[in-house]
């Protein structure tokens, strides 16, 4: 399958907020109740369609633990979108959002689309962070906001796809320089004549994972 665009995402947020589970739900449509700690950085990929164009999402799932913060930073560069995740049942993860956002703004390009995600919306009984608070935070910092549940898959698709839509709109508006790969956007093989000199096969055979 050849895609029109490839968008790179990065998922960030405190440890245990469900970043890996969100990714697994999006790429494999399954939920793993017990997930090992993410060590370093892993990634998954999935094709979506926006405006009748195939778009490949390459999603980098980072480790949330403080010890890995420096590793995570080297992945901000070259991401077109970021999912900033907190856990609605743990207030401290919400409190840390500012730190994460600073980190993201500092290390990524300024046009990166950031989506704020309050995960674990299925655990309503244990909620500590109100939806309105998330909404307010997002408005204050110019983010898109959504509450999701990786367990029930509620809003998971939407979170990823809405981010992609936002990026796509920005491309249409000409905000992104799509020829600069550092922006995290790549034009598909058949759309870009400039990539012809790259070795064949090395592009299409992207690291295998997820559903594609």
């Amino acid at each position: 399958m050849s895609y029109a665009y490839l968008f790179k995402y990065i998922i960030i947020g405190d440890t245990g907020v469900g970043k890996s589970c969100l990714l697994l739900q999006f790429t494999d449509k399954r939920f793993q109740p017990v997930h090992d700690l993410t060590i370093g950085v892993e990634f998954g990929a999935r094709m979506i369609t926006i405006d009748n164009k195939l778009i490949k999402l390459q999603i980098w799932d980072t480790a949330g633990q403080e010890a890995f913060r420096s590793i995570t930073r080297s992945y901000y560069r070259g991401a077109a979108g970021a999912l900033l995740v907190y856990d609605i049942t743990r207030r401290e993860t919400f409190n840390h959002l500012t730190t994460w956002l600073e980190d993201a703004r500092q290390h990524s390009n300024s046009n990166m689309v950031i989506m704020l995600i309050g995960n674990k919306s299925d655990l309503e009984s244990r909620r500590e962070v109100k939806k309105e608070e998330g909404d307010a935070f997002a408005r204050e910092h110019g983010l898109i906001f959504m509450e999701t549940s990786a367990r029930t898959a509620a809003n998971v698709e939407e979170a990823f796809i809405n981010t992609a839509k936002e990026i796509y709109e920005k491309i249409q508006e000409g905000v992104f320089d799509i020829n600069n790969e550092a922006n995290g956007i790549k034009i598909g093989p058949q759309h870009s004549p400039s990539n012809a000199s790259l070795p064949p096969g090395s592009q299409s055979s992207s690291p295998s994972s997820g559903c594609c």
Binding site: G40, E42, S197, P199
Partner: protein, 857 residues
Amino acid sequence: MFQGVRVTASSSGHELFVLGDSDGYVHLVNRTFEIRSFSAYERGISLLHQSKDSPILVSIGEDEIGVNPVIKVWNLDKNDKHGDPVCLRITRATIPNKAVIASCLAVSDNLSLMAVGFVDGSIIIYRGDISRERSSKQKHLKDDLPSITGLAFQTSGKVIMLYVATVSSVEVYDVTHKDKEKKIHLDGKGCALRCSILAESLPNNDFMVARRDAVYCYTNFVLGPCYAISGEKIQLEWFRSYLVIVAKDMEPAPRISTRVNFFSDLNRDSHIITILDIQNKFIVFTALVKDVSAVLIEWGAIYVLSTDNSLCLIAKSQQYDAQGLMEIFRQFGDHLYIKGDHKGAMEQYIKTIGSLEPSYVIRKYKDSQQVENLTTYLQALHKDGVATGDHTTLLINCYTKLNKPELLKEFVMTKDREVDFNVEVAIEVCRHVSAEDALLLAEKHCLHSWYLTIQIEDQKKYNAALDYIGKLDFEQAEFMIKKYGITLLENVPEETTSFLKKLCTDYEPNNKNSDGSSYSGQQKANPEDFIHYFLNNSERLVEFLEHLIQISSKWSPHIYTTLLEHYIHVWGKQTDHHARLQYEQKIMRLLESPDASYDKLQALILCKAANFKSGILHLYEQNKMYQAILKYHVAQQDYSSLLVCCRRFGHQEPGLWVQALWAVAPQQNLPHDLLDEILSVIEKEKLLSPLSVVDALSYSPNVKVGNVKNYLNKIFQTELKLTEQQKALIEKYTQQTKKSRNTIEGIRNKCSACNKQLELPSVNLFCQHSYHQHCFQTFSENECPMCLPNNKQILDAIQSQEQSKDLHEVFHSQLDRADDAFSLVTAYLGRRVFTELTDYSKVAMGKFFLIVIMDSS
């Protein structure tokens, strides 16, 4: 090993370890650890590369003081006159006008490319067969790079890439085409010497670079995933799908799964060796090792060379290497077990599943105190799918011993996982331990037979069993009821009967709601199979069969016959008159039912055996055995019925009356009118000669002549009348004969022409006219003169018809004009329009053909 030698370079490949020391010697170590050394350089050796599959060794070292690295290529299989390997090539590895130290060396697998990196950031690429001096061309890549720390060739198809790691960057060159080298910048961070490696067996041939915080992968010219393993890395090695990381021992690596202390003295120079399974993202092995000088990989195993030059086997993996790991786990487990840490030992043993015989472990843990650990082990065995039936048995027994039914239940119900044990064995065991679980298990795995066996034989819960059968789909339900029907019927006759009724008519599994109805028509059990279950229960059988017959009438004769048999059986046992009557009616209704296709002969036998009168009679009648009915009535001396029977069937079988006579004659006390009626019928129908009647009656002890007087009188009178009639007839016929005879005489002897006595020669014609020859000749030539006019008329008519038949125009015009065209056509057909003329004229002529009988004289 090499005492007093300082190893400065190492490589492995072609079944050899290659070590270079500071004195310029190369040491080759083979599989049996035999060492062969030769002098390669005058001074030290800095870099070595042993080709994997060929005996080619590339070395970089110094022959003289100063910085003048020299590349030498050796063939290790060929020896010169001193017994040392042959040196194939000597090239100076220097950058023009500069004296720099070579920091790394890479050779492509096919030996056609070689690259040397220098501390000042330059790279020299040698193209062409590296073992030949002449064919090789060198190219100096002059990009302003920091000091080179790692080089690796990656070949995929025709494309050859050269990964370059420097102190502060990672680059990749496309070196496929000569002089068209193209650089792609990958990252602005670099790594230390020996801390980069190409992961060859991974699908994307990642270039791995170890930094302080993690190991980063570069794939497809971009930064890929990373593995966070902190510590100051010393060396990276790649072995099959494992990444071997040597780091300085700073702090424990995160997520340590197995930490084996090989060396108890933790001095400050020790290193951590971590083996990471990249595919499974799992740290396979971590160990503290003293003073690692190099990690060498060969013979399917990983060896560590320490600074005091002792070689130590770390791990063998995969194939037999996996076995090696298992052995390590086992030994550690044994160790912990001896120390009394049973739980810890079990953790190790669980890791050996797959290679270590489970009985080895089970035997160790068979004590009753160890049940818990044993359970853990057995669970792990099941999870890995290597458990046998015995293991399942043991595990279930363990659960019971632990008195943890909820665990057993969880295991048995296998929530969230595949079934990893032999279900039948599990049921068998559960059956003795906890029938409830066994039932659940059987139900879950659709082992209906087991379920029912337990339910019926152990639990005696017949109703539950029956309900369960009712939930199955048709084939299984039928099979099961066949298996357990007898038992069920004995114990819960009522429910079983109603279930059987359902099964034989319109079975639908209980738990299916909607779609069952569409094919229920085809699914009917054959009730014959179930009849014998009702062996001792006639009443139930009757109920069952009655139900069947009510639902449908298309059953085999066997069904009806059986029903009849049991009706009669029940009837025979009834003592109450009223009930008997009721059953009698039932039987008769069955017998008379037009649909009932019972076997008549068998039914007859049944009725006779039970002496069921009306049944017998009905059947006789059905089978047209009227004589049997007669005999029956006679035997019963039921003369009025006898008469009725004779009257009813006499016209079908007149012999009945005669039979009746013969049967009745010898009887005593015959009613008069009976004999009279028989005789009158016999007389009327003339069934028997009077003599035979008399003969028959003569057997009767009490029939007097007076009784038959009327009959005899009538007989005689008819006989007389008959004789007279016949006599008159004889008279009449004699006279007629006489008359005819005279006429014949007359015709025969007269000529038709002259009416005189015929004399020879004469002519006799078919038209029965005879003539004297001379008379005939005078009248005609060849036709009968008497018939001539008549014949002529006919011939004329034929001729005229033949003429008109040929006039087609006339026919057509007539057809046009005719009111009734059809009759016209018929008229023409009548004139034989469509047959050949000649045939019929011949026939016509034949009519008048002449036979002249001439006198022979």
